[in-house]
Each structure stands twice: as structure tokens, then as C-alpha cells.
Amino acid sequence: MLLCISILAADQPPLYFRCIPCDASRENDLRLFVYSSLDVFDEKATSSRPDQELFLGSLFLNNKFKSYGYLTNTQIKFLAVIDATNPTLKEQDLRALFKKVHQGYSAAICNPFYELGTPIQSRALNALVDNRVD
């Protein structure tokens, strides 16, 4: 089950973070988990492969999170965190999800009213998370 999606760029505050509705402590755990996954991103970046994935089976408060990563050519990182206890989402689904996130991100960038580097507010991206929770 998809828990959250995050978009981060190098040297900037996070551009986008959206998780399923849950209590604040879980959201903080998710954020912490996302940031710790960033280190693995840099490791994988040196080994050249087109799409990157990462598995982090960390234990957070008796919950297991698994995060997947995707690095675009423009050095933007997408992260998706799923609940590792019921792995209903398969790798193929996640690849398709990241394609959609990439489309949503490039659409948000093309918005002339969007200032580069500020947090993204996009209904299309929000719908990606909200529609998955069912």
C-alpha cells in the first residue's frame, strides 16, 4: 500500500511531500525515512543504471517501510514509500507510478506562476496519492 510520495531536488528544501491521511507521528516517521533514503540515492548514483530503485527495510516503530527511488536527468529525486507489511504493490506498478509522477512534475514546472525552488502545489500530484488509497 502506497504510503507517501516525495519529490526532492539537490540543495533545496523538499519540493513536494504527500502522504496518506494519518496521524502526525507517522507522518514524521515517513519524513525521516524519506531523508534517510537519500543517502542510498547517492550511492546508487555512481553505479550507472537508467532507473534506480532502492530497498530499505528499516524498522520504524514496529512498522516496516520500503522506499523506492527514481532519479531524473535533471537531478530531481522522486521517492515513494510503501508499507512493507503487505506488499500489494509490485515493481511494475511502481515504475508506472514514477512515470506519472514525472509527468506531474514536468507539468508543475511548466506552470508559469510556479517559482523554481518553492514547494509544489499540484492537484494532479495529490490525486496520485489519494487515488491509490483504496
Binding site: S48, N73, T74, Q75, S106, I109, P112
Partner: protein, 197 residues
């Protein structure tokens, strides 16, 4: 072949040329008007005995005390456009790992999507300078061939130079792009890369 997800400019060339010409005209006229206002303001303060800037004049003063010529403003417009456009064009292609791959991508796929054709010549001196040559650049394609309108054509390259700079910036390369013309419509872009050693 342009990437299927991005329409090449060839289909919308006509409206863009009109808009581009109006943008250039607007910025040049605004610049002239600002220069005139600045001169007038300086005259009036020189002649008046009370040389303090009144509160009511402060806004006016700030407005044209900011200097910035049309070239830099239009180039900044192009930067934002290039930044967004390269995100769309680079969406479905495999990873570009080396700087040379990124330059080749700019010269082929990106140039096709943004300017309607591929670049004709790419040269480098292997010391962070690339010279990109396009033998029929589309913004100046309709001007007379030869050397008649070199000075006037220069402003028509400010926007594309910004587009290229924005595209490189989004790919992670800081650069300075200078367009030069020797004979229309052959345009060369000198791209100086800032290498972070």
C-alpha cells in the same frame, strides 16, 4: 525525428515569431522610456533648489533607477522557458551521464524540440568551451541573408540564448551562452561551462 511527446515548434512557428517580435519591441520601448524618464528626473532635481527626494517621488525613482537592458531581460525570460522545456524533452530518454552526452542531447533532441531542427556543427576545445553552429537559425531565418542586418539581428538571439542556458542549468551545468553572428542566418552559440572542479 522530434520526440513524440513534445510538439516541435514547426507547427506553431508563425504565432511564436509574432509574439517574439512584440516582446522585443516592448522591452526596447520600455527601455527607451525609462531612459527618458531618468534623464528628465535628473534634470528636474538638478534645477530645483530642494535636492531631497520627496516621498512621492521615491517610487518613481526606484522604478527607473533599476538598470537592465532589453537583452538581459529577454534572456532571463528564455532561461525560465528553457528550464521547463528541457524537463519535458528529457523525460523518456535514458540517463545522460557525461557532459558530452548532455551537450549532444541539447544539440539534437532539445534543439529539434525548441528550434525546429538539429544543430549543424558542434565543436569543443575540451576546456569547457563549446561552439554550437546552426546554419539557418529560425528566429533570424526570415531576415535578409548576408551581413546587412547584423546589429539589429543581435536582439533576436537573446531569447534563444536564455533557453539554452536554462536547459543546461536544469541538466546540472552552469554556463554562459553568447550568441554571435557573422553572416545571417548562420548563428554560433559560444557556451562557456563553469566547471566545479
Amino acid at each position: 525525428m522530434p520526440p513524440p511527446s513534445v510538439p516541435s515548434l514547426l507547427g506553431t512557428e508563425f504565432p511564436f515569431n509574432f509574439l517574439h517580435a512584440e516582446i522585443i519591441k516592448y522591452y526596447i520601448e520600455k527601455h527607451e522610456a525609462n531612459k527618458a524618464k531618468r534623464a528628465e528626473f535628473l534634470e528636474s532635481t538638478r534645477l530645483s533648489e530642494d535636492s531631497q527626494i520627496l516621498e512621492s517621488d521615491r517610487n518613481v525613482y526606484n522604478h527607473f533607477a533599476l538598470r537592465g537592458n532589453p537583452e538581459t531581460r529577454i534572456e532571463a525570460l528564455g532561461y525560465r522557458v528553457g528550464y521547463a522545456l528541457v524537463e519535458k524533452v528529457a523525460r523518456d530518454i535514458p540517463r545522460l551521464s557525461t557532459e558530452l552526452e548532455k551537450m549532444k542531447f541539447i544539440c539534437k533532441d532539445f534543439w529539434m524540440a525548441a528550434f525546429g531542427k538539429q544543430v549543424d556543427n558542434l565543436r569543443t576545445n575540451h576546456q569547457n568551451i563549446y561552439v554550437v553552429q546552426d546554419n539557418k537559425f529560425f528566429t533570424v531565418a526570415s531576415l535578409a541573408e548576408g551581413t546587412q542586418y547584423l546589429k539589429e539581428a543581435a536582439i533576436y538571439l537573446a531569447f534563444p540564448a536564455g533557453v539554452v542556458r536554462g536547459a543546461l542549468a536544469n541538466l546540472g551545468i552552469k554556463s554562459v551562452v553568447q550568441p554571435t553572428i557573422e553572416t545571417l542566418p548562420v548563428v554560433k552559440f559560444n557556451v562557456h561551462l563553469h566547471k566545479s572542479v
